[in-house]
Each structure stands twice: as structure tokens, then as C-alpha cells.
Amino acid sequence: MVQQLSPVLIIIPPSYVPALLKLHEKLEGKNIAWALSGDLGEALNGVRVRPDCIEIVTSKNGAEQIQESAIEFNPEPVAYRVQRLPRNALIGNVEQPLYAGSYYFEFQIDGIKIKVNGDLQFKVNNWGWGDEFEFTPVWVYIVNKKTAVVPLHVKLELYKNLGWSDKVEKINWVITNRERLFHQRVR
């Protein structure tokens, strides 16, 4: 099997496409600011990762509106939650526990888990909470639906700060190779 190595090719599990379209259907016209994050967001930016869920970042108010809009999928209630992440941060070669705090709920569409984080913040060990997750999204059309996605440079900064070098390397590969394409253009 020949592998495509292009930094511009996007591959996500096909079963995610109808789930995302159903999500769009529920959120359309409701003026909710939301974006795809997590591994799916990175895959939509061309990074070779296989997502195991759909992660959404939004505001507290956005989380509540999404919860209401997705009521037919029996979502959990929105609740502020601080969760220790399975992977530690690596700060100065020392592993530190990592926490995410957000107005959170989960639900499923067609068997695919959707995790919604409102006002997401991160905290390393018992240090203070970081800034809220803010960014200007990039846009990807899921078939015909314009969808906001967390940009790679935001994830890159986050992973650098957390010391997750493997993820930094993967994202850097995409960014570097795309820059080569752009530089080629102006020669």
C-alpha cells in the first residue's frame, strides 16, 4: 500500500462525517461560536492522527446552547469540571500533573463520542490556571458545511508549553512542509 505523505492531504474516519453533519444541522442558525479541537481538529489540519472522539471548544454559554440544541442525543447536563488529564506535562524535564477545567458535557451521535468544553483552561500541578483558550479559527468545509477548527499554531504553542515533543514534531512537520509549498510558489 502506498502511503500519501502530503502535508495537505486530510484523512479522518469516514464515520465522523455524517456525525459532524448532524451536529451542524442542530447548531445551524443559532449563533454559537464553536470549533473542533483535539485530535480531530489536528487531523482536519493535515496532521496524521486518528481521533477517537469529536472535541469541541466553545464558551460557557456556548456549551449550554449546544447542550440544549443536542437534546435529542440525550446529552449530560453541563457542569464545571476539573479533570486530571491522562498525560502529564513535561516542564524542565520534570513530569507534572496536568489539569483541564471547563464547563463540560458529553453526548454521542451515531456511536461517536462528542466532548464539549466551555471556557477551557489548563493548569499544571498546583500552579494558576492559564488563559482561556482563545484563537481565530481556520475553516474547513465538512462536505458543504463551513466548520471552525482550532489552528495548528495554537496547538503547537500549547504542546510546546506542555513539553509534548512528539506532538510538536508532528505539527511542525505539517507546518514546515506547507511553508515549503508556499515558498516554492514565489520563486
Binding site: M1, V2, Q4, L5, S6, P7, V8, L9, I10, I11, I12, P13, P14, S15, Y16, V17, P18, L44, G46, V138, W139, V140, Y141, I142, V143, N144, K146, N177, R178, R180, L181, F182, Q184, R185, R187
Partner: protein
């Protein structure tokens, strides 16, 4: 020493890995069937193979280094059956910018097409019956002497859901195709059109003022990052040009849709699809009932490989579909003397030469012909002058043309020649440069509207096997006997002045219409990329090779799709768009056959 290699049988053997084959591969492998795809060329790695050679205009544009070498295989061509057919030995007819090339490698010819999209209208699917009922058979026979037109076996309405499926997968950009084409009431193309160029805007305003219904010309050069229903996607076009013109340039960012980055990655992802490159298919083995039992191909070492299967999908480029079937003794060959038989019958040109042209100069309209935008995006078009969208009573032709203006040609000397108002005497040097001076300056933009008419199938044009020339393995080349008909000439004569009216309304200066043509004075030096017919689908096995499910009448486990399977067409698209729905019909037909083997009609 070469040897015979026997492979285990699979459910579906896909021959060629171009536009239509990708659809069949992904649909069948997704459904759980074991599929093998055979491709005679390489699997280009578009980010690396195309990356460093992107701007080799001479090598790619003229020398066609991403196309198959004509030393491997070619075709021969003549304009009537009394001539001696000569082989095509160059992929480009230099001075006129005409392109003759076959696909080579995964993705096929669509690795470097223009990405022009657009549906065929309802008229195309029922030209024979509609024309006969509305104007009478006498009109049709007078407009097209020796006509050999058959209706498609399905109507436009039948194809509409397949069109939608295709457009969402391929990532067609546009809005809709105006009020003259139904099917867009609650639907539009998935991606927005490219930004309109100044010329496109002028065309839109002028045609609106003249009472026409302009719309953004649909194309398949992704204007946005995009993921299709198979979970495969690409980034948006970043180059803003350098890819169109006579369809020379491949796209290393994947924005220009083809199966290599729309369907094949998804097929590979199922685990049910095996892609075999460097596999030159030369024969289909049949059993006593006429069904196919195996495909034979040469690998890189010259070994003969035998791949058995339950179903075979012939997705080879153009008339190679016919060549393979004829060399394998599959189907009933057409006899031009008695006008019987179906294989090789009904070929026509997809994009006939523009025999009469209207041109004008737009002064200081803005834009820049040298850098421009994304390939064939940015244009506006009208359907008012195509198909039977105007009354043909008293006219001497069927069909019409599809004026479109404002697309971004992109750069390169070959492109300039393509868009120059007349063939230039040389492709390089001071003469060439001088001829372009008044056409491609920011302050002076040449606009040419060339109303190419519809090329209808006639009994005189056909494909057979050449008795003199062979490919590198000793198999006869396909021989094309084809020319253009007075239908195209009469159409251009009628519509060129109307195009001049549009140019005048656009504010063009020096509007000129080339002289009226009275006889088909010029012949085709080459076949073209969008030839159709030859292995057409239809409702009658006497005049068609495949039925409405794209299933062969004589070999029930053989299916095919491609431009060469079209019974009829028009110029609302270069030709690629309508084969998408055909590929989905074939995929559905194959699944039906695998569940219940036998004739599907």
C-alpha cells in the same frame, strides 16, 4: 526470464485508476468486497513528485512528462475511411496548443485537467427523442446527415441524485447553474465559487443586461479546505493560477480534484482494496458464455500476470476501453458499411474546435493575466445559448454553445498560446511575444468567446483496430476515423454574432467576428481529451455496448464508465463532470450484480 504469475481471485478487478475507477474502488471496498485496482503508470506522490517540477512549463506543458510515453502506446487517426491513418507521435500539437494525451498513473488524466465542471442539461440525455418529437425526425436528419444519435438510458432527473453524490465527493465549487437547469432548488454545490475576476464580472453584468441568466462557472479546484463524505480532504488552492490553460499542470496541494486525493485514499483505508501500479493491462480472458474470467497485465519486469475476479470494471482512459475489448474479442465490433455492431460506434468530439470566434479587447478592466487566480475558477457562464434552450425552428443545427468568460488561465507560454485569439506562428521567440502584446497586458485584456457547437455521433465516425500499427507489446492500436460535422460549423456561424453582442455589451473595443464558415474546411490533426462514444451506454444492445447500469450487454460481469461511454454530450462542461454520476451508477450496478448475478435490465 519473464513468467506467468497467477493471482488469487477477488470480487472486483478495477482496470485503470483514474476518475471513475476511484469511485468504484471506494464504493465496493467500503461495502466489504475485495477489490484490486490495476494501473499501468506510477502512483505519483503529488507533494514530492510534483513539488519540484511544478514550474517546468516546457517539460510538463509541451513535452507532457506526466503523460504516458507514446512509444508505449498511442492511436492512429484519419478523417475518413478512405485515408491511411497515421499514428499520433506527439502529445501536443505545438502551434495550436491542442492537447492530446492520456492519463498515466494513479489519478489518471485528471491529474492535470482544468477542473471545469458543470452538469449536462436534460436535453443531452434525450437528444434523439426530444428533437424528433419537437422538430421532427426530418429536421434532425437534415441538421446531422448520417446521424447515429441515441438517447441515454436514463434521464437527467434519474441522474440528479448521482450528480449530487458526485459533487459532494469531488468538491465542486459554485452556486447553481441558473434557472435553466433544475435540480438546485434545495441544493447548491458544496464549495463556494472562486472570487469572480473583473472579466467575469463584466460578462455577468453584460449577459444580465441582455436578458440571459449568468452564474459562476462551476469548477473542481477547491476554494476552501474540504473533507468529502469519505473523510478525505485537502487544503484549498494556494497557487492562484499556474494550473489551467490547456490543462497542463498537476496540483501538488490536491486542490484540483482527482481520484488520487478524493477516493483512492479512502479505498485504501478500508483494508479491502489493493492498488497495483505499473500494471499494463492487455487482455481480458472470457469463458464460453462471454463473461470475463481474468484480466492479464504485464508488470514492470515483463511478467504476464493473471488476475481472476467475479466482476471487472473497465475504467481505462478513453478509447483504451474499446482497444482492450476489441483485442480481447469482447463485444460486437461496429461495421461502418452496414452500420451494425456497437463497439467502436458513435464516437464524437467532446470539445469541437472553435470554428468561428468573437473577440474583443477590454481596456483597463483590471486583473492580471500573468498571475491570475485559481485555474478555471472566477468565470461566469450562461446556459441560455446551449442545448435546446432557444428555439431551433428554421435553424440548421442541434444544440448550442456555452459562453463563459473570466476564468483565470494561469501563467506559462503554452497557456498564452491557448488564449491568444489566433494560432501563433511560433511558440517561442520575438514573434510569439509580439503576438501576445495586445492580449495579455493589465491594461488590455483579450476576451474570446468561441461558441463550439455540439459534435453529434454519425455513422461515418468510429473506432476500430489499426491493421498496421501496434503498441510496444504488439497489440494493434485503436484507429480513429473522425472529423467534425457541419452541425458544429452551423452552430458557430449562428452563435458567434450573439457572442459579439455580449462582448459589445461588456464594453469591449475592436469587437470582431471571424468569417462565416460554409464548409468544414479544417480537419482534426488530433483527437482530444474529451472524446465520447465508442463504448456507449444505451437501451438497445444493437446500438450500445453497455446498459443503463453500465453493464456490458454481451459480458454481464463487465462494467465500464467514462467519457467514451457517453452516447451524447454538449459543451456545458469539458466532459468530466457527467462521468462522475456514471461511476456511481456503475458502482451500484456492480453491487447489484454481486448480490444477484445476471443481466440488470
Amino acid at each position: 526470464m519473464s513468467q506467468i504469475i497467477n493471482h488469487p481471485s477477488v470480487d472486483v478487478v478495477v482496470l485503470g485508476m483514474g476518475v471513475v475507477s476511484g469511485t468504484v474502488a471506494v464504493e465496493l471496498s467500503k461495502a466489504g468486497y475485495k477489490v484490486v485496482g490495476l494501473e499501468r503508470g506510477p502512483h505519483w506522490e503529488f507533494a514530492t513528485d510534483f513539488f519540484y517540477t511544478k514550474f517546468d512549463e516546457w517539460g510538463i506543458g509541451f513535452m507532457r512528462k506526466f503523460d504516458i510515453s507514446l512509444a508505449i502506446t498511442s492511436s492512429t487517426l484519419r478523417n475518413n475511411s478512405s485515408q491511411f491513418a497515421l499514428p499520433i507521435r506527439r502529445n501536443t500539437i505545438g502551434y495550436s496548443g491542442q492537447i492530446i494525451s492520456e492519463g498515466w498513473g494513479v489519478g489518471g488524466m485528471a491529474q492535470h485537467y482544468g477542473g471545469v465542471m458543470g452538469r449536462y442539461g436534460p436535453w443531452v440525455y434525450q437528444v434523439y427523442s426530444d428533437t424528433a418529437s419537437k422538430y421532427g425526425l426530418g429536421f434532425l436528419n437534415a441538421a446531422v446527415p448520417h446521424q447515429d444519435i441515441i438517447d441515454w438510458p436514463m434521464t437527467y432527473d434519474d441522474y440528479t441524485p448521482y450528480y449530487e453524490q458526485w459533487e459532494k465527493m469531488w468538491g465542486v465549487c459554485g452556486t447553481n447553474e441558473g434557472p435553466l437547469l433544475s435540480g438546485f432548488e434545495n441544493y447548491s454545490y458544496p464549495l463556494p465559487p472562486a472570487p469572480t475576476t473583473p472579466v467575469g464580472t463584466a460578462f455577468k453584468n453584460a449577459t444580465e443586461a441582455l436578458g440571459y441568466s449568468p452564474f459562476p462557472g462551476p469548477h473542481a479546484l477547491a476554494t476552501q479546505s474540504f473533507v468529502n463524505p469519505y473523510g478525505v480532504g485537502v487544503q484549498e488552492c494556494i497557487y492562484e493560477g499556474w494550473c489551467a490553460g490547456p490543462c497542463n499542470y498537476v496540483c501538488e496541494v490536491g486542490a484540483k480534484a482527482n481520484s488520487d486525493f478524493r477516493t483512492i485514499p479512502a479505498a485504501l483505508g478500508t483494508g479491502n482494496f489493493e492498488l497495483r501500479i505499473n500494471s499494463y493491462i492487455f487482455r481480458l480472458d472470457t469463458d464460453s458464455s462471454g463473461n470475463i474470467i481474468a484480466a492479464r497485465y504485464y508488470d514492470e519486469q515483463g511478467n504476464v500476470n493473471v488476475q481472476p475476479g467475479t466482476v471487472f470494471f473497465n475504467g481505462l482512459w478513453g478509447f483504451n476501453i474499446v482497444k482492450l475489448m476489441m483485442n480481447s474479442g469482447v463485444g460486437n465490433n461496429y461495421d461502418p458499411v452496414s452500420s451494425t455492431g456497437s463497439l467502436g460506434r458513435g464516437i464524437a468530439m467532446g470539445v469541437p474546435p472553435p470554428v468561428r470566434t468573437a473577440t474583443g479587447i477590454l481596456d483597463n478592466i483590471g486583473g492580471n493575466s500573468y498571475t491570475c487566480g485559481s485555474g478555471y475558477g472566477g468565470a461566469y457562464a450562461i446556459r441560455d445559448l446551449c442545448d435546446d434552450n432557444f428555439d431551433h425552428t428554421g435553424l440548421n443545427f442541434i444544440g448550442g454553445a456555452y459562453p463563459e468568460a473570466g476564468f483565470y488561465p494561469g501563467g506559462g507560454p503554452n497557456n498564452f498560446a491557448f488564449f491568444a485569439d489566433q494560432p501563433t506562428p511560433a511558440m517561442i521567440g520575438s514573434t510569439f511575444k509580439a503576438s501576445l502584446k495586445n492580449a495579455f497586458l493589465p491594461t488590455k485584456t483579450l476576451v474570446a468567446l468561441a461558441p463550439s457547437g455540439v459534435s453529434p455521433p454519425v455513422t461515418d465516425w468510429y473506432i476500430d483496430l489499426d491493421p498496421h500499427y501496434v503498441d510496444q507489446y504488439g497489440d494493434p492500436l485503436p484507429r480513429l476515423t473522425i472529423d467534425w460535422t457541419m452541425n458544429e460549423v452551423n452552430c458557430a456561424n449562428y452563435l458567434a454574432p450573439k457572442c459579439a453582442d455580449i462582448l459589445t455589451k461588456m464594453g469591449a473595443s475592436n469587437v470582431q467576428v471571424s468569417p462565416e464558415i460554409t464548409t468544414p474546411v479544417s480537419h482534426n490533426p488530433a483527437w482530444q481529451a474529451h472524446m465520447r462514444g465508442g463504448a456507449r451506454i444505451g437501451s438497445d444492445s444493437a446500438t450500445s455496448v453497455f446498459n443503463k447500469w453500465q453493464q456490458c450487454w454481451t459480458s454481464q460481469n463487465l462494467f465500464a464508465a467514462g467519457e467514451i461511454c457517453k452516447p451524447m454530450g454538449d459543451n456545458t462542461t469539458a466532459g468530466t463532470h457527467p462521468i462522475g454520476p456514471m461511476s456511481y451508477v456503475a458502482a451500484e450496478g456492480i453491487q447489484n450484480y454481486l448480490k444477484n448475478p445476471g443481466p440488470l435490465v
